[in-house]
């Protein structure tokens, strides 16, 4: 019994020599197009050397992934108020608060996790943050992982971005500025 609703193959597909020649034509087309770009010194030709180069045609509106903004001592500026977790429509942010030793800070995140595989990159968390502790950076556009558990970004991973600009300068996606 046939459980899968398969399409009937037409005669042109069954005789697959035609499709082989079509594939060869597409490959050849791209080869000559990239060759022409390369010969005229234009970007985008040939390939991107991935970890060293990033895509040049990334839109300036691309938000990238989240980063946690740091205090000057490397601690996150986040006070674990859970505003981002509350507003998050994909419910992908997990925060647990703890008491800080510094009485001027009082509250800090013990666990801060964003499940990027669930994230819809709406930017609500950035908008909701009352202390500007979370931002989305176009530079951090490499969202790769071998499995979905690698896509859960914890506090350490979110804090790897070291700001090269002053904290006063709003950098990255921040609609409040």
């Amino acid at each position: 019994m046939e459980y899968v609703d398969r399409k009937k193959r037409g005669l042109t597909i069954q005789v697959y020599y035609r499709e082989i020649f079509r594939g060869v034509w597409i490959t050849t087309k791209h080869f000559f197009r990239n060759l022409w770009k390369w010969l005229t010194f234009r970007k985008g030709g040939v390939v991107i050397l991935y970890p060293e180069e990033t895509r040049p045609d990334m839109s300036p509106n691309n938000r990238g992934r989240h980063v946690l903004v740091q205090r000057s001592n490397g601690q996150p500026r986040c006070v674990a108020c859970k505003m981002c977790a509350t507003i998050c429509p994909a419910l992908c942010i997990t925060i647990e608060a703890e008491e800080s030793e510094d009485p001027n800070i009082q509250r800090r995140p013990r666990v801060f996790e964003i499940d990027v595989s669930h994230c819809i990159f709406c930017g609500f968390c950035v908008e909701a943050c009352p202390v500007d502790a979370i931002r989305m950076l176009p530079q951090t556009n490499e969202l790769v992982g071998y499995n979905r558990f690698r896509m859960i970004y914890d506090k350490e991973k979110l804090l790897t971005w070291h700001p090269t600009v002053s904290d006063d300068v709003v950098y990255g996606y921040n609609p409040k500025a």
């Binding site: 108020c81 001027n104 009082q106 009352p130």
Partner: protein, 484 residues
């Protein structure tokens, strides 16, 4: 009682004479904002948020200090009153820090709510804010933040009027005033200390057990009745992901007003240490159905020589089923006992004339009502019996040692270890039901958390009743859930 008629915003209302204006308005659907006024505390009238205009009176009057008078004409929604409220909020917020992201009260803060409702203005304050003590430990239970404090004196009045310890007071003047304890004193020996946290209108007083644990808008509130003593204080159990985060008193004028003691709160917050689990025969885990059939057969066979010891932690519904089982089998020896599973701590208040009762079980009145013939287990003559069905923890070991024990209990105590038949029960936050308090007031409560690896007493008694051939008066949880 004599009644007076007055006009509020053009609406005629009739209230008992002597009512405060703020209560009269609230009873008739007009909410007057307040910080310092609390229904169960003596009004102090120091926050000025409840000012209203009364006709023939040149100045605004605090409605929490004004008793109603015949023919009074009150205005609460004039532009002038709105302006007063805005100005008061601006005044309160002059030195108030914007700590909402780190404040435990965010989401239920009266200042936050009233700012959103009545003001919404931006701050015009350009001077340096007065910085005060940010982290002051009022003992092991409570932390005080003087910067957030609006000196409404509610906490001071709670220690004066409710717990009568007079621990707190307001010292210094003007924008430097703050709440303080005497030097070296703590709130630890105040049995109602956590009430000041519940009733702080802002987040100045925070409880250490709840500090930074969870945001209040995530918590699921369940109405419940405290099982800490026979007072039966009405409480909210606030849970998230099957874990109790916070317990707060629920208002009930007949039982506990707005208060509950710290003992009752810690009864819920601290997880019980020695929970029993599973169904066991001769200390080996068995299937629940096998356990029920064996116990039913045993009780049926030896009904005449079985002592039935009822639990004062059981709900009235469970007791009714137990009563049906006992009368169906013809068990004559029925006893009650004082359940006490934890050790008495050193500074514990045994009984006071406020809330705490000597009897630390929630439903002794229900046991005595359901089983009027029951005797105290201390009066038990051990030679009359061969078997004992012990329900609940805390039975005196020397009274029932040597009998064949069937134990149905949520706590694994010394009786649990001695028993031949063990079934783990539920604690009161894990079941639906009702308790009868010492005054005879029957109060319902609902399940707050789901217990694991234990069995429902209600279902157990129904199953045993079915097994012995009786028609139970209730339905099991499965039957209710699968009912068409």
């Amino acid at each position: 009682m004599k009644e007076v008629t007055l006009t509020v915003d053009g609406k005629e209302i009739t209230v008992p004479a002597g009512t405060l204006l703020i209560d009269a308005c609230e009873a008739n659907g007009i909410y007057i904002p307040r910080f310092c006024y609390h229904k169960h505390l003596f009004p102090s009238g120091n926050c000025r948020m409840c000012l209203v205009m009364i006709e023939k009176n040149p100045k605004p009057q605090p409605s929490c200090m004004t008793p109603v008078v015949e023919g009074m004409a009150v205005h609460t929604n004039t532009p002038e009153v709105a302006e007063i409220r805005k100005a008061i909020l601006e005044f309160v917020l002059i030195n108030h820090p914007l700590d909402c992201p780190i404040c435990d009260k965010a989401g239920e803060c009266m200042l936050q709510d009233q700012y959103m409702e009545f003001s919404g203005d931006k701050s015009r304050f350009n001077e340096t804010k007065v910085a005060k003590e940010k982290l002051y430990h009022f003992g092991r239970k409570i932390i005080y933040d003087a910067e957030r404090c609006i000196t409404c004196s509610r906490c001071v009045r709670i220690t004066e009027e409710v717990s009568k310890t007079n621990k707190l007071g307001i010292v210094e003047r003007g924008d430097r005033s703050y709440v303080a304890l005497a030097h070296g004193d703590t709130l630890d020996d105040d049995p109602y200390a956590y009430c000041v946290v519940d009733n702080c209108p802002v987040g100045a007083l925070t409880a250490k057990y709840f500090r930074f644990k969870e945001r209040v808008w995530y918590l699921h509130k369940t109405p419940s009745v405290c099982a800490g003593c026979s007072r039966g204080c009405n409480i909210w159990i606030e849970t998230k992901d099957n874990k109790i985060y916070r317990v707060r008193p629920r208002e009930n004028d007949a039982v506990n007003k707005s208060w509950m003691c710290d003992f009752g709160r810690e009864y819920y917050i601290l997880p019980p240490k020695n929970r029993a689990s599973g169904a066991k025969i001769n200390h080996y885990a068995v299937d629940y159905n096998k356990f029920v059939s064996e116990v039913a057969a045993l009780l049926k066979e030896h009904a005449a020589e079985t002592a039935f010891v009822a639990s004062a932690y059981a709900t009235n519904e469970e007791l009714a089923l137990a009563k049906q089982l006992v009368s169906h089998l013809g068990i004559k020896g029925i006893f009650h006992k004082k359940d006490r599973v934890w050790q008495e701590s050193s500074g514990e208040v045994k009984e006071d004339d406020i809330l705490i009762k000597q009897d630390k079980t929630p439903n002794m009145a229900g046991v005595k009502k359901t089983f009027p013939e029951a005797k105290d287990i201390e009066d038990m003559v051990i030679s009359d019996f061969k078997y004992a069905f012990v329900w609940g923890p805390g039975a005196p070991l020397e009274k029932i040692d040597g009998l064949n024990l069937i134990v149905l209990s949520a706590m694994a105590d010394q009786i649990w270890e001695k028993a031949k038949y063990n079934l783990a029960g539920r604690i009161s936050s894990e079941k639906h039901g009702s308790f009868t308090n010492f005054n005879g007031i029957v109060q319902n409560f609902r399940r707050a958390i789901k217990g694991d690896n234990n069995y429902d007493e209600l279902t157990f008694f129904i199953d045993v009743l079915k097994e012995v051939g009786a028609d139970p008066i209730g339905r099991t949880v499965d039957e209710i859930q699968n009912a068409k």
